[in-house]
């Protein structure tokens, strides 16, 4: 029976020959991942130990914990939550990665997300690992089921196939593509399904772009997103793999619930209005008024990778951030931070007036330098619901790193192609 890459990964994780969409089965993830956060991990830690009476783990190597949130205040609450996490990981022999960057990126850099692997997390942005031909699925509190039993019951999802042609034009990238997809298909266009990207436009897309694209899958309603592993993904995986891995790929005659073609060369920069990424809020930048902004942010698990920083630096080289704007740039990981420093990109950004911050998730959820009432921010963060980055009386617009950089220069939401051409 022909299978998609997702079905093959789930069949292996389910210990069966094949699966079909709609089946509900228990699956054994290769890695069961979390970042520590109050109300999530501290509760799960207590439940496992006290409520379930679990005092040792059969396979601690399948558990993975990151400290990537709440790293920038240094207050007592922060110290307490991380202390609990360190003690728990130490007690159970679970690997902890602390302050090395955003976990969804660090998991890739450290070779946990090799092709064919199945990873779950309570946070849905783990779908970014689909860039490598791994399946990353955000399961919310059901992570506890996997942590106490080693397996998780899931409905096998159908797959929506995206055939990508052409290449991104100047000033356009994966961020514009995902919003263009939502604009065309709606915020539930891929509901309960997996997005699979293929075709020449997918093959031409860099790993960074693939990660950013897959990481935003949830806003189409998808449970995950994935690329079939090709030379780029295998080269990356070979350099970082912690253990042998078995790549799988969709059969040519695999069944898809629907297919959509997107010509990347026709996509224009997209901006999402405050509230949510629903299609009614999604517009080509040229359709919009040039709204004034006070803050600009490049970072999060959906951006802040080396190519995003290169794009921002190219636009800001020799320019200045507008007097009324504060531009904050957060590389996605410590490794990316070091690379951007080596390439001289961070100096370009600093000279232009940008603030460069240590890698963490803290800007994106309003913990670090929260937006004040009345502020307007243009952001590469993942969410623009009211209050996400600070005050509920502030507003968040979303776009690509290029759009954020261009807007930081002019002080207004701006098409990056205008800044490039002047």
């Amino acid at each position: 029976m022909p299978q998609t890459i997702t079905e093959k990964i789930l069949a292996r994780a389910g210990g069966v020959d094949s699966v079909r969409p709609g089946q509900n089965l228990p699956f054994r993830p290769d890695h069961m991942v979390a970042y520590d956060f109050p109300g999530y991990t501290d509760v799960m830690f207590r439940q496992m130990h006290e409520d379930f009476g679990i005092t040792e783990l059969a396979e601690p190597e399948r558990y993975l914990v990151f400290i990537d949130h709440m790293l920038t205040k240094g207050d007592e609450k922060e110290r307490d939550i991380h202390k609990v996490t360190r003690e728990w990981c130490d007690f159970y022999g679970v690997t902890l990665h602390e302050a090395e960057g955003i976990g969804h990126q660090v998991a890739a850099e450290l070779g946990y997300a090799t092709p064919g692997r199945f990873l779950i997390h309570f946070d849905g942005h783990v779908s970014g690992l689909g860039a490598f031909g791994a399946l990353g699925w955000g399961v919310r509190r059901d992570l506890l089921e996997a942590w106490v039993s080693g397996q998780i019951y899931l409905d096998v999802p159908a797959t929506v196939r995206f055939d990508l042609t052409g290449e991104f034009g100047p000033g356009v990238d994966n961020r514009d593509l995902v919003h263009a997809i939502i604009g065309r298909l709606g915020a539930d266009g891929c509901a309960h399904q997996v997005m699979e990207f293929g075709g020449p436009g997918a093959e031409a897309m860099s790993i960074d772009r693939r990660q950013g694209l897959c990481g935003m899958a949830m806003f189409t309603g998808a449970v995950s997103a994935i690329f079939n592993p090709d030379g780029r993904a295998l080269d990356y995986a070979d350099a970082v793999a912690r253990s042998p891995y078995e790549p799988v790929a969709s059969d040519p005659d695999a069944e898809y619930s629907s297919r959509h073609t997107f010509d990347l060369s026709t996509i224009e920069p997209q901006v999402v209005l405050p509230g949510s990424a629903r299609s009614a809020n999604t517009h080509g930048v040229s359709e919009l008024d040039r709204t004034e902004v006070t803050k600009a942010f490049i970072g999060s698990c959906a951006s802040g990778r080396i190519e995003d920083i290169r794009d921002a630096a190219a636009l800001l080289d020799g320019q200045k951030v507008s007097a009324g704007v504060e531009l904050n740039v957060v590389p996605t990981s410590a490794e990316i931070h070091r690379q951007a420093e080596r390439e001289g990109l961070l100096d370009v950004l600093r000279t232009a007036g940008a603030n460069i911050h240590t890698s963490s998730c803290d800007f994106c959820f309003g913990y670090q330098k929260p937006l004040q009432p009345g502020e307007k921010c243009i952001s590469t963060g993942v969410l623009n619901i009211s209050g996400r980055m600070g005050s509920t009386a502030s507003e968040i617009y979303m776009g690509s790193a290029s759009t954020v950089a261009a807007s930081a220069i002019t002080g207004k939401i701006t098409d990056p192609r205008e800044v490039m051409n002047r």
Partner: protein, 173 residues
Amino acid sequence: MSGYPPPPDVIRGRVAWIFGDDFDVDLIIGVENIKYYDADVLRGVTMQAYDPDFVDKVEPGDVIVGGRNFGYGHPHYPPLVALRNLGVAAVIAESFSPGFWRGETYNGMPLITAPGITDHVRRWDPVEVDWRKARVTLPNAGTTLEGTPPSERVTKIIEAGGSLRLLLAEHRR
């Protein structure tokens, strides 16, 4: 949060509210209040933007109805805790956003996908929900809608009063 009794086999009540498409549940209590779990606080902020008297009108067994992609956004748990506290016993929608569906299924809330529901109900219509069969009977409309029944696993979760209770029964050492 996960300490609710399982629902009866057939939930009988009224349609307490009808929400539109892509509805963000955080708006039920207002985004300023999404971190509160205290019952009194939640009661004071529930549905204030829609019907200030909602908390006094709703009765145990009532349900809420949603349009397409109900729960879209970045759903937090307190809004449904607030509705549960009032006795809201199920959510019926044209379709559910996956993140919301997973989070509330964990909490044992029956979520019934019933395409066509928003065309057939008005506020306070009586409704009967056989959640195991995903069968929604609407006497005023003279209609019965059938959705896709929950999987065996999800049925067990709802019968247990939430996933935590089921997992404790299965895996406590």
